[in-house]
Symmetry: C2
Subunit: 225 residues, 2 copies
Amino acid sequence: MLSDVMEDYLKAIYQLQRETDERIKTSAIAEELDVTSPTVTSMLDKLEDRGLVDREKYRGVTLTGEGETVALEVIRHHRLLEAYLTEHLDYDWAEVHEEADRLEHHISENFEARVADALDQPTVDPHGSPIPSADLEPPERPDGASVTEFDEGDVVIVEEVADRDAEVLSYLADHGVEPGVELEIMEVAPFGMVTARSSSHDDSVSLPESVAHHVRVAVPAELEQ
Amino acid sequence: MLSDVMEDYLKAIYQLQRETDERIKTSAIAEELDVTSPTVTSMLDKLEDRGLVDREKYRGVTLTGEGETVALEVIRHHRLLEAYLTEHLDYDWAEVHEEADRLEHHISENFEARVADALDQPTVDPHGSPIPSADLEPPERPDGASVTEFDEGDVVIVEEVADRDAEVLSYLADHGVEPGVELEIMEVAPFGMVTARSSSHDDSVSLPESVAHHVRVAVPAELEQ
DNA sequence: ATTTAGGGTTAGATGAGGCTAAAACAGGGT
DNA sequence: ACCCTGTTTTAGCCTCATCTAACCCTAAAT
């Protein structure tokens, strides 16, 4: 049996892999999980012993197939919980992350299935992130791109807001930046800050690069080439 | 912050106290939690340091007020979860215990409140056990008595089936022994076995003392003197 | 090719929570 | 009063996940 902590490491490595395509460095994992590097090194030893990561000393790790499956299971739990909490327990999308983070390790297969049933097999969570399917096959990358890659005048649809910080999410919700809304890009500053106007709001909203980076958007269907 | 394990000890001591009125012995806790006596001794040291139990060496423990409050909080979580799982997630009353046992330590105050709201502030769980109120005041003992204290010919209403074993609970459900049903006592053997007939079933059911002991019943209102 | 800065790993300690084996105690029977 | 029996505690050890301090490797810069 895998400990909660090991699951956290696998999940973190998976998420970091989605962002970089390179081998994941010890320090990146340490920062993500808020532990020290030596702690990560020793955990990587154990994960390697169990065949969950491929390791090259001093050169980072990648998940094995098995490791990826475990990560996907944890992420499936997490996102199903987020969806369930917002749909059936009156949670706000900004506050579900923390709760799901604690519960994700402690639910049974049965619970997972009942929750998925109650939600009618959902495919995305409240932030627009894809929920891995029950077979835990590696999902394809969703389409769309970071909002930072568009220019002034572009009109886009918000697909996903992947930030985990409740404060940031509340701010975004207050300014109409949520999955599904239409955004008109007003300005992209050289240092990455994006200013945009939500179709549902009168005033514009500015997102520093670190936030904008987590906002994935797509071109509306009717505008495509 | 209290660890999950400490919460488990406090809960176990609380439950044992409901049964005996005497100081709780190390060996009783050890058996309840399936650990060895020395392990219990060292945990009792720690609980005493934190003011959660009153201890007399070689003579068992009792909970302090603070310890009792913690135990009640855990039990409230457990029973709310059991109720929620059966009401809203299609669980069978026989299978909720395990799931609740794992989740009870990991839900927030917020989650507790939302679940209680969804159930409209329930006062009993699916086994008929009282759910401690949100203020965590020590509840009074419910009325009724163990079914073993009645005699042939008595007719009683099942108030609570406090067994935690899913197999046993399934068996009881199959034979119509559930909270709310009427039971006619057929026989009480000298070694404590109770044979009874549920109003909803044709054949009778026999409960060995260890099982019958967990079935709390009350005299139907219309028969009271 | 060498240096060097910065990150990675090793070594050793800590605190939880568990175990077994051995010593110490409480309480009943004589 | 004494001893015997059974339970509790003490002593010492283990594993896990974490830390700090010290050492080592890689890769970029010269």
